[in-house]
């Protein structure tokens, strides 16, 4: 009997969930309810299923593909590539944006439904890499569309991209706290 009392009821009921979301959710005192704001709930569900639009530009796209594939497996984070911009939430700009492509990038971005985020992957998308002075290159995609997360590297490793996605998830949750 003594032992039974020691067991923490909280652990039984919500241990797995509670630990994970302790930061965002409050426990109703004494009851089995979890309270949260809808804002936080939406943000949580958004961050757990970020669907990027399949959109490769250059070398970085190959590393992005490697991140989707066997060893790195982005599906674990709920990141599943969608072919259509209308079904996606995040755009991973992976590669050099040229002047000819810039208009298309902008249009793709405007076709995505809100809320939407942009990850600039690689030095090219961040600032144009060593092509920044070339006539046909846009020095950084931020001159075309606003960027949320920058992932440096040429190309960034898949681990780098995963870190970028985790940063974006953090950003989404922090946005909901405000």
């Amino acid at each position: 009997m003594e032992e039974l009392k020691k067991i923490n009821l909280e652990e039984i009921y919500y241990a797995p969930l509670f630990n994970k979301f302790a930061n965002y959710m409050e426990k109703f005192p004494g009851g089995g309810l979890i309270l949260t704001t809808t804002k936080k709930l939406f943000a949580w569900s958004r961050k757990s299923s970020l669907w990027p639009v399949t959109f490769g530009l250059a070398c970085c796209a190959i590393e992005m593909m490697a991140a989707y594939a066997s060893r790195y497996d982005l599906d674990r984070f709920g990141v599943i590539a969608r072919a259509s911009p209308r079904q996606s939430d995040v755009m991973i700009v992976s590669g050099t944006v040229t002047a000819k492509m810039a208009e298309r990038v902008k249009r793709l971005y405007s076709q995505m439904p809100n809320p939407k985020w942009v990850i600039a992957m690689g030095s090219c998308a961040i600032a144009g890499d060593f092509y920044r002075n070339v006539y046909s290159v846009v020095p950084g995609v931020e001159r075309v569309i606003p960027v949320d997360v920058y992932v440096p590297g040429c190309p960034p490793t898949p681990e780098g991209l995963i870190e970028g996605i985790r940063k974006l998830q953090q950003k989404i949750m922090e946005g909901a706290k405000k």
């Binding site: 250059a58 070398c59 190959i62 050099t96 793709l108 092509y131 006539y135 046909s136 290159v137």
Partner: protein, 381 residues
Amino acid sequence: MEEKVKISEPEEEIILNMGPQHPSTHGVLRIILKLSGEKIVSAKPDIGYLHRGVEKLGETVTYVQFLPMLDRNDYLSATTNELGLVLAVEKLANIPVPERAQYIRVLFSELSRLASHLVWLGTFCLDLGGALGGGTSVFLFCFREREKILDIFEKMTGSRMHPHLMQYGGVRYDVYPGMDKDVKEILDLMEERINEYEEMLVNNPVFIDRTKGVGILPKEVAMEYGCSGPVLRGSGVKYDLRKAHPYSSYDKFDFEIPVGENGDVFDRFKVRMEEMRQSVRIVRQALEGLPEGPITSQMPVKVKVAVRTPPGEVYTAIESPRGELGYYICSDGKPNAYRLKIRAPSFSNLSVLPYLLKDHLVADIVAILGSLDPVFGDVDR
């Protein structure tokens, strides 16, 4: 194949725009299609969405600075890009290359050929995808093997995709201790896996239906358009620069050149599969015969003007995974080129696309395009 679906002729032609953001265009290609029903009347590819002005850049920066930039050109097989330029400059400036360096160059060129063909196979099957019932699994398998090859690049040079391995007069890195064990492990695995993939695909009736007899490229047309590499060999022309004009001691290696018969998508697939087997053979020989000695004839490059060429012109070509990759350099004696032209294999291979697409169905586009294996960093430069 006889029982193709009969399509009644519609009266009107429509214009359909495919790309530049399309999951199956292997990058940023736009094709403007004129369709009559499902049939393609004419196709106009629109390229240049990845034009980064590499040739202009090559005139403004020195040879030493330009070498790492070239990695980004044909990004699936970075080492062969470097090899081409390095050979051209060495020929013009008469720089000797030690034999060990030549062997290391061959070794890594072939490893990157393997990696490149693996990406091709993966994406090609992903595009055929839905109909194949498990196209995605081939993609996942191929990337699994590719990661293992990239690991060797990473261990050797510190970078997975853009190794910057070459330097004028040799290579920058010697093989690390224990590399032959790593490589042999992969080769054994690859030999097994190549057979497995081929069996898996060739015994799949859907795959055969979608590739056999589709996109036939006759020999003469392939030559007129300047197609090279597996596209040319798939049409039955036995031509490989590694045999025809051996460079970097390729003449000391024993390998065969696979050729196709009909020049359709299936033949190009076959040729590439066989090429992977031959690459495995070459890597094995390179590992076994790796001679002792220095890895470079020059001092390690510290300053950017370290390499100068005498005035003159030179053209050298190598066999990259996509075909004839050539560099034409016109030099006026400065440490940078006066004019640097890159003869890109993908550019010529892709120019045959309008010919191939004519009178095919829309669904065949991805099969045909995939079989040409264009890399857009290479097409647009």
